[in-house]
Point group: C2
Chain length 149, copies 2
Amino acid sequence: MASHLSIDDVAKRTGLTAHTLRYYERIGLISPIARAAGGQRRYGTADIAWIEFLLRLRTTHMPISKMLAFAGLRSAGDSTISQRRHLLQTHLAEVQIELEAMNRCVAALQEKIEHYHSLEPCHSSTFNPEENLPDDHTKPLPARTGETP
Amino acid sequence: MASHLSIDDVAKRTGLTAHTLRYYERIGLISPIARAAGGQRRYGTADIAWIEFLLRLRTTHMPISKMLAFAGLRSAGDSTISQRRHLLQTHLAEVQIELEAMNRCVAALQEKIEHYHSLEPCHSSTFNPEENLPDDHTKPLPARTGETP
DNA sequence: CTATTGGTTTGAGCGCGCTCTAAGTCAATA
DNA sequence: TATTGACTTAGAGCGCGCTCAAACCAATAG
């Protein structure tokens, strides 16, 4: 259960910095970590699991304030399981909405790229700085891009 | 082409605040908007289209610094079209990676919810504050949740 | 016995993306 | 004419999520 990992080990494993790990502990997102002689943190597998869970919440854009609420419920024991589930479900519902918005925007941006393709004189697909071929009659600033006119 | 919309009209249409619209113009994300007598902004359809495009970039988490780069290319004329396309494609590639990460996390969180379901004593699916039925032998703090032990 | 390494703490600072304030200008109305 | 109210500007302030700095301590190497 206690795999005595140092803070740097955990940093490498999780991609967080040691700074951030201490910060998370300070604000209560991570409960106090066991210490070796000398006061150095020793993370157990349960700690790692919790951190990885936090990272999943972070990846799905849960604000720290909500993670703190979740952590509070968790530390209050098994009687809060339904509340934790509720919190998670609410969050996932928000995430679904965000994902749909993102997907819509991605689709629109891909269409814009298609549009650019049709506008390009030669279509070299990689970026090439020497690519100022046609000095078209360019309207300087208000070069609109053609959405919802 | 000029549909003489006031800043508040545009705010309502786009969901941005008038403050934010002025801020975007100040930092160069939006090029100087035409003015009515008295100096009030009058937005045209091309302006609206550009703002909606910016919102799509924002929804897909493009930082303002990159939007500024894009805006700069745009105002430099048609010769920058391939660079704009490149910028957009790079961005979309990042977005795809982010979307995949989010989807993986959503799946994991949904599994966690399933797990909670199996742990719950009675399963009332809506949140109920009076739900402290079983005072189980609860481990106070280190109530681990069971990922990767 | 130093010097180095690698951790510790508290608190300050920072980058981002707004958000708000203060002071001023203008157009229309009482 | 006086006042209202919507708009303008430049600049300060804020919430979030880190990120860093300064000072200190413990263990090991030379």
